[in-house]
């Protein structure tokens, strides 16, 4: 930092480009990026510890809240591992329903990403249009599962809600209409000059780097790494459907866009195949409350990449250990590589291009007085009192300020 031409810009923990708190200290030389130092952990909520202190049923809902967007991915990865330990054989209909929800979740996640990407490059119209279209799948998911995110669809031994026959045409309608829209966006992303200018050649990550840094998901596939857990280590009903693994060799943000848009089309085709072949039968089997001793690892291709859940049971109602590896943790390693020699202006889109989900990544809180096991944080009064004390210690007295609902005075 002896060079005075270098300016350090703090992007985060609070910054409009980041939807979640994470810190990127960027050293700038003019508009060019010199170095990036990352700091994670702001979203550490003690979920792994919390899982050890709750029953498996409760954990289902806790794990689902690891992430707000790919919630179903985490819930399914967890429940798969538990079912493997318990040796539960799921009814085929339940497996199919899980797969349908999983693919619909991918659709909503990728459309969300496209909108966010548009926003990061200052193309708000793209954001508004994609999110308008995404609303179709959100409403569909709400009708199928009972919520727009955090579907609460999984239970040990199956799913909680059946897909009613009258919903089938609704799903197909949404899939058809979205397919048409996605084709429009593919055309847009590959022919709009200003979009191409902002995406192409930005955030380069070579195949070698992608491999050595252990990137996963669309980030890796856009660098020509042909990996997809759905095909390599099939889970749910992916053995029964045929789909292409979309890869690209642009190795930049443009490639990542192309991969995600291509995956959307594949998802539509997967949902159609599943709906065509969905078997009849029960949607759940009875699961024991006590899960036997044992351990299992489950892999799941979430929209952002591979989720890995490790669960160890000890014969009681509560798991001995739950370990969650979210895709963003694997991908963050590559961000500083991608930012090398880039512009400050490209930083938001490069970070956005791994579709980061820092909540997934961290899984625990950094409030000191967090009790860790329940995901409970300081109460509002405590935070306010803590803030007042903190400022008092530095010579500012906020104690006369009244905060509505708080213990300010």
């Amino acid at each position: 930092m002896s060079d005075e031409r270098v300016v350090t810009v703090p992007i985060g923990p609070q910054h409009p480009a980041l939807k979640e708190p994470e810190s990127f200290m960027v050293d700038l030389r003019g508009e060019k990026i010199d170095a990036v130092r990352m700091r994670f952990g702001y979203n550490h909520r003690g979920i792994e510890k919390g899982c050890e202190q709750r029953s498996y049923t409760q954990d289902l809902y806790l794990v689902e809240r690891v992430c707000g967007i790919c919630s179903y991915a985490h819930s399914t990865a967890f429940v798969q591992a538990v079912e493997e330990i318990a040796g539960l054989e799921l009814p085929r209909r339940a497996v199919y329903i899980r797969t349908i929800i999983a693919e619909l979740e991918r659709v909503h996640s990728h459309l969300l990403w496209l909108g966010v990407a548009g926003h990061e490059i200052g193309f708000d119209t793209l954001l508004m249009y994609t999110w308008r279209d995404r609303e179709q799948v959100m409403i569909l998911l709400a009708r199928l599962t009972g919520n727009r995110v955090n579907y609460g669809m999984n239970t040990l031994g199956g799913v909680r809600r059946d897909i009613a026959p009258e919903m089938i045409p609704e799903i197909l309608k949404v899939v058809d209409s979205l397919e048409e829209r996605v084709k429009y966006y593919i055309n847009l992303a590959t022919s709009e000059q200003t979009v191409i200018q902002r995406l192409s050649g930005v955030g380069k990550l070579t195949r070698e780097d992608a491999l050595s840094l252990g990137t996963v998901g669309p980030t890796a596939r856009a660098s020509g790494v042909d990996r997809d857990t759905r095909r390599d280590d099939p889970y749910l009903a992916y053995r029964d459907v045929s789909f292409k693994v979309i890869t690209d060799t642009h190795c930049d943000v443009y490639g990542r866009t192309v991969v995600r848009l291509g995956e959307l089309l594949e998802s539509f085709s997967i949902v159609r195949q599943l709906i065509k072949n969905i078997p009849d039968g029960p949607i759940a089997i009875k699961a024991p409350r006590r899960i036997p001793e044992g351990e299992a690892v489950s892999r799941y291709e979430a929209p952002r990449g591979e989720d890995v859940h490790y669960v160890r049971g000890n014969g009681s109602e509560k798991p001995e250990r739950v370990k969650v590896r979210a895709p963003t943790l694997a991908n963050t390693q590559s961000v500083s590589k991608m930012l090398e020699d880039g512009y400050l202006a490209d930083l938001p889109i490069v970070i956005a291009a791994i579709d980061p989900c820092f909540s997934c990544t961290d899984r625990m809180v950094s409030l000191r007085e967090n009790d860790g096991n329940e995901g409970r944080t300081m109460s509002w009064e405590e935070v306010s009192r803590y803030g007042v004390e903190w400022h008092k210690a530095r010579g500012i007295d906020f104690s006369r300020v009244r905060i509505p609902g708080g213990a300010g005075a």
Partner: protein
């Protein structure tokens, strides 16, 4: 009596208050159109007023390290410059509030002051994001200002006068000659996007990169003044473009002239809203490249056209 009338013209109509009201109406129009173009409902008509009063009622926090005087004066200065410039622009007839030979150049420089105050306000905020925004503002200024200048000066070349009212008179005497300046009008619209720091040229206040650029540290009434200055600048610049490039129907009586003028400004605002809807933000280097490689040569083309026409007629 005459002095009182002049004062009224400066302060109320068509001066300060008229401009501010127009500014807010323009902001509403822009936001509503932007929303509708994006298939959204958009704000209700009173939103700009509500925003203004909300900001005026809020505490204005000044950073400890900021140059307090500069920080406070910059927004006021921006608004004052825009209002002054507006007084020289003929709206629906060839008689603006103030006028003299050469006022076109003065108006251009007055309209440059807001950008300079963005720079000064941002620079003296001493925050990293403000500083970056300030530097970007001034860098961008050099890219769009020259083409804008050239495109506005070429109709003046044709009219052989440096006074805007003189130009209006010339084009009133020679109807349809303004049609030769349409290329310049296009250049003017594009560069106006840069002047108003709108997509695709909004890098100086790119939210996802540098928060709000120069305005990052501004809040309360100081921010309100800046917003007012920007809204008024949009109206003043649109009026300038309307007067220079669309000088038809300028001799009409008040009840025809004012609606025509409003329609012209609304039309320009509409084009600006559409333009900012369909593009992604350009990076600084791309923006400068674009301005110098495409916009500036086209502006020069307009000069050549006008010189040729002047020789022919």
């Amino acid at each position: 009596m005459n002095a009182l009338l002049d004062l009224l013209r400066i302060l109320v109509f068509p001066g300060m208050i008229f401009l501010v009201v127009m500014g807010m109406a323009g902001q509403y129009l822009d936001r509503k159109l932007y929303a509708r173009l994006q298939n959204r409902v958009g704000p209700p008509w009173y939103q700009p007023v509500a925003d203004l009063f909300k900001l005026l009622g809020k505490e204005s926090v000044i950073p400890e390290e900021a140059d307090k005087g500069m920080f406070r004066i910059a927004p006021v200065f921006a608004l004052a410059a825009v209002i002054t410039a507006f007084l020289y622009i003929p709206l629906w007839n060839a008689r603006p509030v103030l006028s003299f030979q050469g006022d076109l150049v003065v108006v251009l420089y007055l309209l440059l002051i807001p950008t300079l105050t963005f720079f000064l306000g941002g620079w003296y905020s001493r925050s990293i994001f403000s500083t970056l925004g300030a530097v970007r503002s001034i860098t961008q200024l050099f890219a769009y200002e020259i083409p804008l200048l050239i495109s506005l000066l070429s109709p003046a070349l044709l009219a052989n006068t440096w006074s805007i009212s003189g130009m209006v008179q010339y084009y009133a005497e020679h109807p349809y000659r303004w049609l030769f300046n349409l290329i310049g009008f296009g250049v003017g619209l594009i560069t106006l996007l840069g002047k108003l720091e709108r997509v695709p040229f909004d890098a100086p206040e790119a939210e996802t990169e540098i928060v709000a650029g120069s305005f990052t540290e501004y809040s309360g009434r100081h921010l309100a003044f800046f917003r007012l200055a920007i809204d008024s600048e949009a109206i003043a610049s649109s009026s300038l473009l309307a007067a220079v490039f669309l000088p038809f129907g300028m001799g009409l009586p008040l009840w025809w002239g004012v609606p025509l003028y409003l329609a012209k400004v609304a039309g320009i605002l509409f084009v600006l809203a559409v333009l900012r809807t369909v593009f992604a933000r350009l990076r600084m280097d791309q923006m400068i490249n674009f301005c110098w490689r495409y916009v500036a040569p086209i502006a020069f083309l307009q000069v050549i056209i006008d010189l040729v026409i002047k020789e022919v007629f």
